[in-house]
């Protein structure tokens, strides 16, 4: 029963870290000198965005493993990771939109690089779902989806660069090239929030993967009984 033990471990870690991190972010971390209280969105928006990248990266890694080894189980894992990435990407768009509204007075601004990048990625991975739905299940779908997922991993840095050279400089730069320029308390609260959201994503990934596996097993069972 180590799987269920690990599942509850991830879930408990997510609950503890998120509650602690959000409490620290809201009540303990100092208020930002420039942006005031609205900067607190940072502690939920940025961890969600980084988690979405992590999910896409993880999905691409599983896709690479699929092409490498040809083992079919990686297909479901890659698909589930990208599924989670899309959910967290959508959350990034929503929380980023709220931040844009409070900082600049508009729900959407093309000057916000992170938001534009996530819109591109959201479109890209929505097409990934369309691709999966329009090919019959089988090795061909596994490989084609894996190749497309790998393209996503390349598209993230390329689009990042593209949006960077194209965009104006409006997004608040929290991390400079020298490293974090956050005060210690802010950084600690941020790191705990990030760990919490990552643990949440890991929990959801495992639950979703288990559900998809049960679905597949039941389909097989039905075929055996038919």
């Amino acid at each position: 029963m180590s799987t269920s033990l690990r599942n509850s471990g991830f879930a408990l870690a997510a609950a503890g870290l998120l509650v602690g991190g959000i409490a620290l972010a809201l009540f303990w971390a100092p208020e930002d000198a420039d942006q005031g209280f609205s900067q607190k969105i940072f502690y939920v928006h940025v961890p969600i965005a980084l988690t979405a990248y992590a999910c896409f990266g993880f999905g691409a890694w599983k896709a690479l493993r699929l092409l490498w080894t040809g083992e079919a189980r990686y297909d479901l894992e890659s698909y589930t990771a990208i599924h989670m990435g899309v959910i967290f990407g959508l959350l990034t768009l929503v929380t980023g939109s709220i931040w844009a509204k409070i900082s600049w007075g508009h729900w959407w601004t093309w000057g916000e690089r992170q938001l534009v990048l996530f819109l591109i990625l959201f479109l890209f991975y929505s097409a990934y779902f369309m691709l999966r739905y329009s090919i019959e299940a089988g090795p061909r779908r596994e490989r084609n989806s894996a190749v497309y997922a790998l393209f996503g991993a390349a598209l993230i840095p390329v689009s990042f660069l593209a949006v960077r050279i194209a965009g104006t400089i409006l997004h608040p730069t929290i991390f400079t090239h020298e490293g974090a320029n956050l005060p210690g308390e802010m950084l600690l609260a941020f790191c705990i929030c990030l760990a919490g959201v990552l643990a949440l994503a890991a929990t959801l990934y495992r639950v979703e993967l288990a559900g998809k596996r049960v679905d597949a097993s039941l389909r097989e069972l039905r075929e055996l009984l038919a």
Partner: protein, 213 residues
């Protein structure tokens, strides 16, 4: 010539010869791009800036490429030749390279008409725009050929290809438009070169997995 280069040359020559005989794709692309430019003239209000016109030229280029790419594997599919091609005793990435060279040739030919037509209808174009279009063609053809092969295996191929292609084409449009209108085209041209290199290598390496049965 080594075996690989000879294979690629033979495959690219086959595509170009096939097009020369049947004239399926290229005339359609030419007519489409000129029609699109005429539509754009009426879509733009009379006092629009030349920068807006340049942006629309890039839309015309991307959609013309899409039109050509939809047909990229049409001949093979209609005659069931792709499986035969995959079984042929050559490296599978050679199929991708040959096809990419063919698609690039079509794109260049379409733009040999489109760019003068644009200069005639709208405004004069500079060397940066031509360089950006040449670089964009390579990237579009490289990635488009791979995506066309992916889409060819699906049920809704004509529907799926634009959905797969357009998000990946956004960086090309950013680089192309930037190179055509910005004061520092070199960095945008460099970006397009980087895009070409990254996605050409990735497509070249992964094509084998897409066509293997």
């Amino acid at each position: 010539m080594t075996g690989y280069a000879a294979d690629v040359a033979a495959l690219a020559r086959k595509d170009l010869l096939l097009e020369l005989r049947s004239r399926d794709t290229l005339p359609a692309m030419l007519l489409f791009v000129v029609s699109a430019l005429v539509v754009f003239h009426f879509a733009l209000p009379a006092d629009s800036s030349t920068r807006a016109e340049t942006g629309l030229l890039w839309i015309a280029i991307v959609f013309t490429a899409l039109l050509g790419l939809t047909r990229a594997f049409a001949a093979e599919r209609e005659q069931g030749l792709l499986d035969g091609l995959v079984l042929a005793p050559c490296d599978r990435s050679a199929i991708w390279l040959g096809k990419t060279i063919g698609v690039t040739a079509f794109l260049v030919l379409a733009e040999l008409v489109a760019l003068p037509a644009f200069a005639l209808f709208f405004h004069a174009i500079g060397w940066e725009l031509v360089a950006a279009v040449a670089l964009a063609d390579v990237g579009i053809a490289a990635i488009g050929t791979l995506l066309a092969a992916i889409a060819a295996a699906s049920r809704a191929r004509e529907l799926l290809l634009p959905l797969l292609f357009l998000p990946l084409a956004i960086p090309v449009v950013i680089g192309g438009v930037g190179a055509s209108v910005a004061t520092n085209p070199a960095s945008f041209l460099g970006f397009l070169g980087l895009y070409d290199a990254v996605f050409a290598i990735l497509s070249w390496a992964s094509f084998e997995y897409v066509v293997t049965e």
